[in-house]
Amino acid sequence: MTAIVRDAVVIGGGLHGLSAALFLARAGQRVTVVERAYLGRHASGANAAGVRTLNRAIEELPLAFEAMEMWRDMNAHVGDDCGFHACGQVRVAESVDEVASLEARQAQSRAAGFTHEEIIDAAELRRLVPAIAPHCVAALVTRDDGAADPHRTIDAYRRSILAAGVALHEGAGVTKVVRQGQDWAVHCDAGTFVAPCVVNAAGAWAGQVAAMVGCHIPISCRASMMMVTERVPPLLEPVVGLVGRPLSFKQTDKGTLIIGGGQQGRADIETGRSIVDFAGLAKTARTVTELFAATAGVGITRCWTGIEAQTKDRLPVIGTSPDAPGMIHLFGFSGHGFQLVPVTGAIVADLAIRGTTQRNIAAFAPQRLQGEAIEACPQDGLRHAIKE
């Protein structure tokens, strides 16, 4: 089969890969996206779609604020608002002890020059979220934050990259990436694509892709579980999280409740299968029903998980490979990458076209993880239980 010559090949059809493809194509590059399954198969389609600066790692905040500007104008960017609502996000303290942790966080972000987080008392919390249980005492709030619809976002990016001339191959898993002169040849089920630039946006499998070009970046994986309920009458506006227990709770404009927050399912990186662990999800259900008594009788429509990469310091990997010139890494968002999607593509386009970017991405350099021991996937011990 003849190799097809491109300017850039993006490996991975998740939202970050699509964002990279979009910026590259709009900058005039000939781009191909290869995706092993279908767009948004894992983390991009299985997440709470929180658009959140609240409690985000300080290192990520400058990018997050730039992304937030774009979320407010997604229509101009990808032709759809992606269901984004600036409904606010609150991080609730259930005890006085937990208030101290809110204050510490606020002090930390203020010290770094960020003033977006506000502490509210019980009365204001009840005004914002009238349905919340009476034992909640205070909260940290970001009123400009919000949430979007992950599937609408995937669909908007799909249409946008196609309109920008990107060639998209779904069902095309990469088998090898090899040097060919100054270029990389990406071999996959859809053929061979040769380009000077390869974007590694393969999520939980990005470590394997990096290894194909001799770049060793230890990453682990996670499989956060989500639930969505039947449609119910309006219950709450903002996205609610907790200080002391894993929870992300929100209501969509359709009336469904989206419940996540980090309870982990079982993942098998080899087969790409992930399975809901109901013992863990039962804890989430207990948290929700204790926090919002009105949800007790609400029917659960679906539960699901998707696999994504997790780094040791929970910061993403964004930057040029130190070992493989021309490969740009974009993965490892560790459970909170959705909000950053619009801006990460711009960084990749900077790196691919100009070789540098004005945005501060020093904290995301791949080098920081190299030589680290590989952290076990939290599900590794359960792998034997999964039969394909």
Binding site: D155, F278, A279, A282, K283, T295, A296, C303
Partner: protein, 466 residues
């Protein structure tokens, strides 16, 4: 509440009941769960209440036959959990159950899915108007509470159930405005080559079907090869439009329309478990791949009854017996030779019971237009997605139901794709120049049966797996 049981049977219809009786006779510890209040399944619904009443007589002989089976089941020593849902099952055969607000899990040495069939989805323009329902739903009302539609009903469809319900409805004092036989012309001829075997193995069934049709023709207007059916009205059904066998358009006032295009195996549990499935060309549906004992591709998981492929109540009971023997053999309660010996007469009876099937399948094929519905038809009722939207996406290059799900939300609603997966696969196949058999069904997400947040919250973490 976590415990272990030799055999967990899901569904107390003919297959589940027969399996329970046989498994108990082999000394197995058996638990049977069913969502209904009593055993009987769809065919013998509420038989313990209704069996001795006059309503049983009008429901026919096949209904009455359930009384003996249910009695034997009650005496078998199998534990019966009524109004209990199996809402998830892991591949290591831990089943998650719920009953009246409580959830728990149970570990099973073997699992028999006897969850039966569902009606084939029938999307057509106007199918979601109040006043339009399925024949199956109408029959449930008739069996459980003797209800008949207040207004004369139009019945449109094909298959034994549509005919049977029409006869039962007339017997119960209901009125039928007209019967739209949706079979394409020539089906009787096409079925002819299977008729000899059918007459040999199931003369009673053939005679019964012919008698029903003759009785119907005497009492109500019957339109042959009705097609292009459209339901119309403001807030509720006011009229139906269709084309008759000559292609002429017919419009009739209507307040009630019952539709039915046959039944297909209920596959959610086997799909969720990752069992292999195959396409059944004669019945135009997927079914699980099974061996002679009803074993799926997942160790310890068996299927019997219409969930294994539509074959009716008699075959369901026999398949249930075979599955129970297979489980007893696998668990070492009976030897392979004894199992084969006991299975031999059951297999012979099964061959006779399914002899009429090829004839019925050929006689009552689903009408083509429901697997390739017009643009205006709503294919996903949960998210109100029309066929035209799916067709446009397919024209744009989408080929996978999971892609359509992401783009339209079709399949994400409470029915989990039970209604939309067949028509969406049909549209994708036609638009992509492929066959429905090549369209992999979308991923099934738990819970596979209804579950509330409070029920999930009650699942005891210390007793759940791992």
């Amino acid at each position: 509440m976590s415990r272990r049981v030799d055999l967990l049977i899901v569904g107390a219809g003919p297959a589940g009941l027969a399996a329970a009786i046989t498994a108990r006779a082999c000394g197995l510890d058996v638990v049977v769960v069913d969502e209904q209040a009593g055993p009987g399944g769809q065919i013998w619904r509420d038989i313990e209440q209704v069996g001795a009443t006059p309503r049983a007589r009008l429901l026919g002989q096949a209904y009455g036959e359930g009384r003996g089976v249910v009695r034997a089941f009650r005496e078998s020593g199998a534990e019966f959990l009524p109004e209990t849902r199996m809402w998830n099952v892991d591949e290591d055969l831990r089943a998650y159950l719920a009953h009246r607000g409580r959830a728990w899990s149970i570990e099973a040495g073997a699992l028999l899915l006897a969850t039966g069939a569902q009606e084939r989805p029938v999307p057509f323009p106007g199918s979601t108007l109040p006043g339009v329902m399925t024949v199956g739903a109408g029959q449930i009302l008739l069996k459980s509470s003797g209800q008949v539609p207040a207004d004369p009903a139009w019945i449109a469809g094909t298959g034994p159930l549509a005919l049977l319900y029409a006869i039962q409805l007339l017997a119960a004092g209901g009125r039928i405005a007209g019967f739209l036989d949706t079979r394409p012309t020539g089906q009787t001829l096409a079925a002819g080559r299977h008729a000899a075997r059918a007459l040999l193995t199931g003369p009673r069934d053939i005679a019964k079907g012919a008698a029903w049709m003759a009785q119907l023709r005497r009492r109500v207007p019957v339109f042959g090869h009705a097609h292009g059916i459209v339901a119309e009205g403001g807030h509720t059904l006011e009229r139906i439009r269709f084309r008759d066998k000559r292609g002429a358009e017919v419009t009739r006032a209507a307040k009630v329309l019952l539709v039915h295009e046959g039944v297909i195996p209920a596959l959610h549990a086997t799909q969720a478990l990752g069992c292999r499935h195959e396409w059944d060309a004669a019945q135009q549906c997927f079914r699980p791949v099974l061996d002679d004992w009803g074993t799926t591709s997942v160790a310890g998981v068996h299927v019997a009854g219409d969930g294994a492929g539509i074959a009716g109540a008699r075959a369901a009971g026999l398949r249930g017996e075979l599955a129970a023997l297979g489980v007893a053999m696998r668990l070492g309660r009976i030897g392979a030779e004894a199992a084969e010996q006991r299975a031999a007469p059951v297999r012979a009876a099964l061959r006779r019971a399914i002899g009429v099937r090829p004839f019925l399948d050929a006689l009552y094929p689903p009408r083509v237009e429901i697997s390739d519905p017009p643009d205006a038809a709503i294919v996903c009722r949960c998210e109100e997605v029309r066929a035209g939207r799916v067709r446009a996406l397919a024209a744009g290059g989408l080929t996978d139901p999971n892609q359509v799900k992401t783009a339209t939300r079709a399949g994400m609603g409470p029915c989990h794709g039970r209604q939309c997966s067949a028509p969406i696969a049909g549209i994708l196949a036609r638009m992509g120049g492929s066959e429905v058999r090549d369209i992999a069904p979308g991923r099934v997400r738990p819970p596979i049966r209804p579950l509330t947040l409070a029920e999930l919250a009650s699942l005891d973490a210390t007793e759940a797996p791992r």
